[in-house]
Point group: C2
Chain length 442, copies 2
């Protein structure tokens, strides 16, 4: 067991080892064969959406740019690869100087997507592109799964605020990325302080049942909370009896109490009762927050309930039944030979068992009808047809190894709202169905 | 947006911000109320196993010990909390000096578990225990979900080696923890280099379809791979035509070729054909590795096939349908008052909507029958009955804030094998059913 830094929970200083071993052994064999420097194009795409989903949401693109720029082999990593004999000495020498110097095009973060489209296109030598496969897929598959769930929940919430609170249900660093992806997909705040620290997301949270149980009475607990956090705070009212708790809450905080939170029971029923009780107590502006195992269906079922905000955990960070996307990273074109001017030739694995890959370096455009509504995702190789040049979805993200498309996270969030709004109305149905746009190949 | 360190993909130097905001606001209110220093006992437990599962597997315990020891608020974190007004100045002062100084007992890593048992018990002041809720649950819920899936796959594989290769299907750091948890649950190697680097796990991997497609012919690709990696390597034989590829592989590498890998098609059928062909070509010791969307059921269905190793990705790192456990962290006892000698009183939220919590500081023991097979998980409060003192499952993990139960990962792996072997035989059925041990409360 490696115990070089036993006290550090995260002892990985760069992204270069978030990599499957075979990327490095392929590199070694290609370096020796003289093929490592062949110009290559890899593409990230999915063969299908998760069953029943109408659209996917690209998320993690900004994290991919960070990951690629920080993909370098530190001395400790090279020592490890040497000691474990993962690759040979010439490969280690090559890795020691490695920085990605190629180009990346693809979908901008927050964009909706459909099967077959080139979500990310990485172009450079085989050597530099093949190394990035694992970390690119890790980021995009995870973040896009969360963003897709978030987007469905945002549709169901129909404008009511959504609080991400799933940190405890997923790996502690996946949780930070999940908060970020949820924000792109339409969530408003997060309980996760690391996400606030790292990405500047707005954070939220006041108290749990433990706080009430710590005190000698619910009244003591509410008094302690209001004295410290002010009357604008959110009091949790379902530790013992909800009706009593709401009465106590308004007695303690007054009618300007910020909110009450309900975390169990029949939320529809309880929310109606609590609203009525709050109104009768004069606390008409006190909001109701609900937070018990919600998903997009539970949120939709509360549309008619007097609920002011939803807190969502488990189902959000696990992609609401689809915790990962099925994005793959495939070589679609490479130089026909070893000369510097060898033309690119399209390549693809032969289809076996439905694993279809379309060869060639692709672009994608979204064809729209007269009213502006999207009609098809058009994916093609070669020159972009004149009628689609202003409909291109793929954009330049990285040039010569440097990101050229960094943006604040709010830009991705707004792009997602616009992008989803441009789809046919059936996109926002929660029921199972086909992708709302067909993919056309040209 | 926070862009203090835009080039660092992981800019979180300690575990203290892997924390929901409400832990800190509860701390603030309790500090002000004078209740923050009440002695408290929190317990991690589940109310149920994932539907149909026969047992759970505790994993992540070692990571929890790291996370708790590294839970400290760095100056940059305190600045963030101050600027965002998450908590007030007295709370910030308290956090600046915080180190957990309490005690932790619980299940050892690799142990099987059942609903209601105190998997982790954290004892100290309310203040120091409440802060740890989120990060402890993140680690245990994630890692235990992966270990449970790994254990089922290991049962299905019946001794054949299992390779973890799911990095691309989950967050890049969750992937490292997933490799670790898979190893605890019975996997043998991982494709994930960061897991090799961080935890010393054995790594594996040779080549992907891209390597074959890079070359002008499959023969060129195989030749390049064998020249660089030796005849003991694993050649991927399903890029074009499997039969032709196997013939070429043995021609290129000779009959001492290490292995061939099949990643698509009807694995049962193809494995039989490939075995026959390899045998006819004299490559009787060449192994067959299969790797296409496997889960425990697919592995079991290949029991009669001539397969020598399984590579598993997506379904492993997503917990085979259950990507998180439902572990919660609840206050179960706290001091009856503020004096230093105030006795502990059991506490629990009132049950609403099935959210049952059993009050009191608990121990757990595994009752066994005459033949040594486990019969029940006994959970109790108060003194341990004499007949169960040598059957205790809960052990001391941390004393006065220092880990006392660190162990190599192999110890957890071996514990899991022993622990599972001590269960009734029905534990290893893959079909849905009830937990194989009932939980008895005393």
């Amino acid at each position: 067991m490696n115990d070089a830094e036993p006290t550090l929970p995260v002892a990985v200083p760069s992204t270069a080892l978030f990599t499957d071993q075979y990327e490095l052994t392929m590199l070694q064999a290609a370096l020796r064969a003289g093929t490592a420097h062949r110009r290559s194009v890899f593409e990230v795409f999915t063969r299908r959406l998760p069953e029943g989903r109408r659209y996917g949401v690209v998320a993690g693109t900004g994290r991919v740019l960070d990951a690629v720029e920080n993909f370098r082999f530190e001395p400790a990593m090279l020592d490890f690869l040497r000691e474990q004999r993962v690759v040979d000495a010439p490969t280690l020498d090559w890795l020691a100087g490695f920085r990605f110097g190629g180009h990346v095009r693809g979908y901008r973060e927050g964009e909706v997507y459909f099967p077959g489209a080139p979500l990310l296109q990485v172009e450079g030598t085989f050597a530099e592109c093949v190394l990035l496969e694992t970390v690119i897929l890790s980021v995009l598959n995870h973040d896009s799964a969360v963003a897709a769930a978030a987007s469905r929940m945002a549709v169901a919430a129909a404008g009511r605020p959504l609080i991400e609170m799933g940190a405890r249900r997923t790996h502690e660093l996946a949780a930070v990325a999940a908060s970020r992806a949820a924000y792109v997909g339409g969530f408003d705040t997060t309980s996760n302080l690391a996400a606030g620290f790292r990405y500047g997301l707005p954070t939220a949270g006041t108290s749990a049942h433990a706080f009430t149980l710590l005190h000698d009475s619910e009244r003591d607990a509410f008094t302690a909370q209001v004295e410290s956090l002010g009357t604008g705070t959110t009091l949790l009212v379902d530790t013992y009896d909800v009706t009593e708790a709401v009465r106590t809450a308004v007695e303690v905080a007054g009618p300007r109490l910020g909110a009450v939170r309900i975390d169990s029971g029949d939320l529809l029923l309880v929310a109606h009762r609590v609203r009525q009780q709050l109104d009768e107590l004069g606390a008409r502006d006190t909001r109701i927050v609900v937070t018990s195992d919600l998903d997009e269906y539970a949120i939709a079922s509360l549309a008619a309930a007097p609920v002011d905000a939803y807190g969502v955990g488990t189902r959000l960070v696990t992609g609401s039944g689809h915790p990962t996307c099925s994005m793959v990273y495939k070589l679609v074109a490479r130089a026909a030979g070893d000369g510097p001017d060898a033309p690119l030739v399209p390549v693809a694995k032969k289809s076996l068992g439905g694993k279809l890959s379309v060869p060639g370096k692709k672009w994608a455009a979204r064809r729209r009808g007269a009213d502006g509504t999207a009609e098809a995702e058009v994916v093609g190789t070669g020159p972009v047809p004149a009628d689609l040049t202003d409909r291109l979805v793929t954009a330049e993200l990285m040039r010569d190894g440097r990101a050229v498309a960094r943006e604040p996270l709010t830009a991705a969030r707004e792009r997602h709202i616009r992008s989803r709004a441009g789809l046919p109305l059936s996109a926002t149905q929660l029921s199972r169905g086909e992708p709302v746009l067909p993919t056309e190949y040209r």
